[in-house]
């Protein structure tokens, strides 16, 4: 049996994250899923963006491409199409995925590129000092919304669903068992999958909004959680302020590469070494 430690780079520890940060829970979950699935490291490529969670690749002993802020999904699109046999994992924060990179997210979902997007949502830009992002809830205090945030936040899962994502799920840092299950579901899913991981940033978001210590923030997350099945029976008002967890979307739609491969098969004029598929 493989162990999550087999996929980690321990010489890079201690990690960069603050005490109590939720990002480490997601890192451990990702490594644990690789171990559970006994994936060959050479078959995995992780693409990461910028931000506190963007540093996740520093601690993983697999193929890694660390890119620019918000551009992890398009870089991963290139990898996934050039080598469709790879498990392409994309790790992003809320800034990467739905703020600076929001356009890439909706198009990647729409195209149904076969990759797994794992988003750590902590409601703010931790690395740069706690400014607001596209997921910062209305009325929150951040370093750039000192009088209360006036914008409405994105619901990442609903955004992904509307854009055409074929697997959408959410877990909180309070429940790593569920987080692992959902990440595994995403990796096993053929097509664009997205797992939103709700994580606490006690250093900035928690402090600005007087949410207490990391443990208090995690307990609060759990108290707000509601299983996706149950949520279906509830009204919009009842769901106000709740965190819907579990598998939210899981459907089959042919992925981009499978469709494109049919074009290649029909149009190919000669056999030669340069084929993308055979490289």
């Amino acid at each position: 049996m493989a162990d999550y430690k087999d996929y980690m780079l321990f010489d890079k520890l201690p990690h960069t994250w603050c005490a109590g940060c939720g990002d480490g829970i997601v890192l451990q979950s990702i490594a644990a899923v690789f171990a559970e699935m006994e994936l060959d490291k050479h078959d995995i490529c992780l693409v990461s963006g910028i931000g506190c969670f963007g540093r996740v690749d520093d601690y993983l002993d697999i193929n890694c491409m660390h890119v620019t802020h918000g551009r992890a999904l398009p870089a991963a699109t290139g990898i996934a199409l050039a080598n469709p046999a790879l498990h392409v994992i994309v790790t992003m924060g809320d800034g990467d995925s739905v703020t600076i990179g929001g356009n890439h997210l909706i198009h990647c979902a729409r195209r149904n590129i076969d990759l797994t997007a794992i988003i750590a949502n902590n409601y703010n830009y931790g690395q740069t000092g706690g400014q607001y992002s596209g997921t910062t809830p209305t009325d929150s205090i951040t370093s750039t919304s000192p009088y209360g945030h006036i914008e409405q936040e994105f619901d990442i899962c609903r955004l992904a669903e509307a854009a055409g994502a074929t697997y959408v799920a959410r877990a909180t840092a309070f429940n790593p068992v569920q987080m692992r299950k959902l990440i595994r579901g995403g990796i096993e899913h053929k097509g664009f999958s997205l797992i939103e991981c709700m994580v606490q940033c006690p250093t900035h978001y928690g402090r600005y909004n007087r949410q207490g210590e990391a443990a208090d923030m995690m307990k609060m997350m759990n108290a707000r959680s509601i299983p996706a099945e149950k949520a279906k029976t509830m009204s919009a008002e009842e769901l106000e302020g709740r965190i819907v967890t579990g598998v939210i979307v899981n459907k089959n739609r042919e992925d981009y590469y499978t469709k494109y491969k049919r074009i290649i098969d029909a149009q190919r004029i000669r056999e030669e070494g340069g084929s993308v598929n055979e490289n």
Partner: protein, 378 residues
């Protein structure tokens, strides 16, 4: 060696050249006057087992190119000046991560939307300095449809050899020019593919980067069965791990510049026309070359000893060849479709008291031989 004659435009020859060079991945966002390259790539790539994808913008196109190239597939994109502006972010990523790719920029007038889509040659400085931070860059500039085929192959070879994005600075005139081109399929020895690591190297000893010399380090594809690969746009050490200490930042910066500048002899390509005995020398590139050749012919017919140095490689600047001209000719004229971006560079080398004149055109109309000649009378 297979060879065929075609009557096509520059943008079409680029697609044929890319496929001949072994490129099998294109990601781009259509923009005039480069869209024929996208259309050609969309049509031709699947026929060779390759992939075309139209991204949501030029930022993502550039990112996708780098991803595909990291997975081992030679990749390219095409754009025009406004789109090239958007590509600067991930062009920098390609430079820092050392991932080969070829970017075709069919230049048009600007700033911003400009007089879409009239020709210009005004991205010389954007090509060199558009991506932030110190670095060097390789840029080629075609002056014929034949160049669009041949130099495209050269561009891919340089990208692979120097493990870096290479720019191909075409322009609206050359992109839409129709000429007869002889497309000769390159032999295996004319195609360069990135160096692979020693097959016996272990993961423990493998390093995706190297900074101890100015030479290029082997680059395995992600997904190979033996070695794990790690690239990053953050300042990193040999292992590809974030390393922001002052010493490392300094050596990485020098390395990214030196690996190109110290190999300028190998990278720079120039051509001459009637230059040997020239008292009046033109130094130019791209579409302006065509008008300059006519200007030289007219002047020669009048008994004036005129000649031309063509910079096929724009970056790194062919300093040696430019200096030789400045040392010998009494007057140097720099025809270009911008307000003097190349002329400024040439002045930097003028330790010889040579008279340097500019022949600039910025109205979106191809510079004419007469306008170039008139510069001499000012």
């Amino acid at each position: 060696m297979k060879s065929q004659k075609k009557f096509i435009e520059g943008n079409e020859a680029v697609v044929d050249g890319a496929i001949a060079a072994g490129a099998r991945f294109y990601a781009g966002y259509p923009i005039s006057p480069s869209s024929e390259i996208a259309e050609g790539a969309a049509r031709e790539l699947p026929r060779y087992g390759g992939i075309y994808i139209q991204m949501e913008d030029e930022i993502s196109s550039m990112a996708a190119l780098l991803g595909a190239s990291l997975a081992g597939v030679k990749s390219f994109t095409a754009t025009s000046s406004p789109g090239f502006s958007l590509m600067q972010e991930n062009l920098g990523l390609g430079i820092m991560s050392e991932i080969p790719a070829v970017i075709f920029n069919v230049q048009r007038s600007g700033p911003s939307t400009g007089a879409a889509t009239k020709p210009a040659q005004a991205d010389i400085m954007q090509a060199r300095y558009g991506a932030h931070g110190d670095h060097s860059i390789i840029a080629l500039s075609p002056s014929s449809v034949q160049d669009c085929y041949d130099l495209t192959i050269t561009a891919f070879n340089l990208a692979e050899k120097y493990r870096t994005p290479v720019l191909f600075l075409s322009d609206e005139v050359i992109g839409h020019l129709r000429e007869t081109v002889t497309e000769t399929e390159p032999g295996p020895d004319q195609i360069f593919s990135r160096i692979q690591p020693d097959p016996d190297i272990s993961q423990k000893d493998f390093r995706p980067y190297g900074y101890s010399s100015d030479s290029v380090v082997p680059m395995p594809a992600v997904g190979n069965r033996k070695l794990l690969m790690r690239t990053t746009g953050s300042t990193h050490d040999e292992k590809g791990e974030f390393s922001p200490n002052p010493q490392n930042i300094d050596r990485v910066t020098h390395y990214l510049t030196n690996k190109i500048e110290k190999n300028a002899e190998d990278i720079t390509i120039t051509r001459t026309y009637q230059l040997d005995d020239a008292e009046i020398a033109f130094i130019t590139f791209g579409c302006s070359v065509r008008s300059t050749i006519s200007a030289v012919d007219i002047l020669r017919a009048e008994g004036v000893r005129a000649g031309m140095l063509q910079l096929v490689t724009i970056w790194p600047m062919p300093e040696k060849e430019i200096r030789a001209v400045l040392a010998k000719a009494g007057t140097v004229v720099v025809p270009e479709m911008n307000l003097g971006q190349l002329a400024g560079e040439i002045r930097k080398f003028n330790d010889y008291g040579c008279r340097i004149l500019q022949a600039n055109r910025t109205d979106g109309v191809l510079i004419t031989p007469q306008q170039i000649i008139n510069t001499l009378e000012d």
